[in-house]
Amino acid sequence: MGLRWYIARRVGWAVVVTFIIVSITWALLTAAPNPEVRQAATQAALEGGNPNTAAERVRELRGLNAPLYQRYIDYVVNVYTLDWGWSRMRSQPVTQAMVQSLYYTAQYSIPWTLITVVLAPAVGLYSAANQYSWKDHLATGFSFFGYAIPNFFFGIILLLIFGVYLGWIPITYNSDVPVFSLANARQLAVPIFVLVTGSIGGTVRVARNESSEFMSADFVKTATAKGVSTARIYTRHILRPTMVPLSTTMVAQLLALFIGSSLLVEIVFSIPGLGRLTYRAITAQDTNLVLGSTLFFTFIATIGNLLQDIVYTVLDPRIDFSDR
């Protein structure tokens, strides 16, 4: 019982949430006029045909005349069996298009996540250890700066400075270079830097505030008194309890950024990843692809929230599950 039961219930709820989100997207799409039908009607009218019959033909073809419940069931089954339809823009199945773009998204998001996870607690801890010194103020200033500057704007400025004026980095992304090569590192360095400054700010603040609370805790004093080395105090006695609240903010922050900013950063740096795919699908009115990426991002968010809750409870042995 206890932890395992809690996790089982939490996973069950996550499944329910995805189901509800899938239903909401279906309702939104059904309520709105279908751009494909409209396009067919416009085209027929331009070519001198009858727009009504053309629209009717597309409706027939796409199964839009079936009863609502039938369409709903089909939709839900398709979503959960990963049959997300055909992308007109890419002339390939939506899932395939997304996997291909994910390859490019992963190339910058994995290093970015690793850097944030390693650097943020370290900087926060360092800041707390040297509280109110100039180093602390520098770290605080930096985190506020990173938090407040819009990622895409920062990206544009850096691209302007390092790409246009100094010519140190390529202005356009080259997808042909091997993943583990100097050229790839060079073209991804600035996007990763931009994303790290964006994600590290909030996390450093939390790490600093949380660990400064433990700096003067009784168990730290005890450890100091019995002669534990400073490094061990920081890593074992202060970092350990700090990680509990920190892990949740970190997951939430990374997720929010992954979904919101990666889209813009990919567009600024013209990386052919998931964000740019979504954007191009929107401008090209490719409904299946828009829907696919929306579902992908919401699933990621749901899984992230789930992980956040589970990590929180697993990391903190003090939490009691009997009434949760």
Partner: protein
């Protein structure tokens, strides 16, 4: 003897008179709100029913400005902000002085407050004095004051033209202090108009978030049972739906202008407030003073309105102060993606327009970008300071 002032005796108190004097009438705040909202609604109905869609609202008095839906909402939120945000500060000068002395210690926050106040005032009144930004193709790419640009990009230079190294350069002039865009619109004017959009985003979303969040939170806590369960599960779902993606999807399906946009921002982000209000209401329900007012026969509404909401207000304000920058960022991001309302000169729109000319006219991007950055920074500093000043205990809670 101590009883030489018999007139003060308990038995002789005229309780009827006291009861008459403390008769609960409308509070000053409510009077002020009603006094301004009623004419506002009247004016709105007049605009809606008596005038055509494109007729200027104040055409009768000779002012050719057609008030938009967003303006009505903005006016409403300003009235409520005045009556329930500023007036209470005036009514309780002692608390105001205390908060101010706490707040004053955070110097970046004071600077931020001044900055936001300037943006607010300029955004509110600037558009009344400045003509709307007009396209003037001959005036394209005028550089800001103190900078210069090669004459090959400029058709007609407002400032001086200097020659150096065989090339001619256009110097920035006070005619366009922040320079002009690719179609010659004055960036200073655009920025001032953008201030108003930013303030509309800030005030209207705040109004929606506070209203819906507080209503849902207190209802869930006080009604309890099934209602509580359903409302809180809904809050869960809203929390796991990534907000930015939700906007993208809705904009993709329905399209829509800035008004829809701002209302959506508000309607999709009250979950944190609702959660906080609910947990606080549940915790406060156990307090002695709540029990005391329940015993004296206070209604649930009275307890919520008089005790729970004021007690959670400081944390709600802080929460919203940190939410607003996210909205400003969202608007800028959508504008940058070309999915925003192109009819509105928001900072994000101007920024997005400068992208293609970044190499030789970076000010078109940098000036609005700098304003976005400073505004977001100011809101963050303000939220941080409010957290410390209004509710020292919440500082510890919020970081968990």
């Amino acid at each position: 003897m101590a009883t030489d002032s018999p007139s003060r005796q308990f038995e002789q108190t005229d309780w009827d008179e006291i009861a008459r004097n403390t008769e609960r009438g409308l509070s000053t705040n409510l009077k002020l709100t009603l006094g301004l909202v009623v004419p506002l609604v009247g004016l709105f109905l007049y605009d809606l029913l008596a005038l055509g869609q494109y007729d200027a609202t104040f055409g009768v008095v000779g002012w050719g400005y057609d008030v938009t839906q967003l303006d009505w909402l903005f006016a409403l939120s300003l009235i409520l902000f005045g009556a329930y945000g500023l007036l209470p500060l005036y009514q309780a000068p002692r608390m105001t002085r205390y908060y101010w002395s706490e707040f004053k210690r955070n110097r970046p926050a004071v600077v931020s407050l001044v900055f936001l106040a300037v943006i607010f005032v300029m955004g509110l009144f600037g558009p009344l004095f400045l003509d709307p930004p007009k396209a003037a193709l001959f005036k394209q790419f005028q550089p800001p004051v103190g900078t210069e640009v090669n004459m090959q990009y400029v058709i007609e230079c407002s400032g001086q033209v200097t020659t150096s190294g065989g090339e001619r350069f256009c110097q920035g002039s006070m005619a366009h202090p922040f320079g002009t865009t690719d179609n010659g619109q004055d960036i200073f004017t655009l920025v001032v108009y953008g201030m108003q959009i930013t303030m509309k985003i800030a005030f209207i979303t705040t109004l929606i978030v506070i209203t819906v969040g507080t209503a849902v939170g207190t209802t869930a806590a006080y009604v309890g049972g099934m209602v509580d369960e359903v409302l809180m599960r809904y809050v869960d779902i809203q929390q796991s739906f990534p907000t930015f993606i939700a906007y993208l999807l809705i904009l993709y399906i329905f399209g829509g202008g800035i008004a829809l946009f701002i209302v959506l921002f508000g309607l999709f982000s009250w979950e944190g407030t609702a959660r906080y209000v609910r947990s606080n209401a549940l915790a406060k329900a156990e307090e002695e003073y709540i029990k005391a007012s329940q015993l004296t026969g206070a209604s649930a509404y009275h307890i919520i309105r008089r005790h729970i909401v004021p007690n959670t207000a400081s944390s709600i304000i802080t929460d919203v102060t940190l939410l607003v920058p996210a909205f400003i960022l969202f608007e800028a991001q959508l504008a940058f993606l070309g999915l925003g309302d192109t009819a509105v000169p928001s900072w994000g729109q101007v920024l997005a327009r400068g992208r293609d000319v970044l190499a030789f006219a970076p000010w078109v991007t940098l000036v609005p970008g700098l304003f976005i950055f400073l505004t977001i920074l100011a809101f963050n500093f303000l939220g941080d300071a409010l957290l410390d000043a209004l509710n020292p205990r919440a500082a510890a809670e919020a970081e968990e």
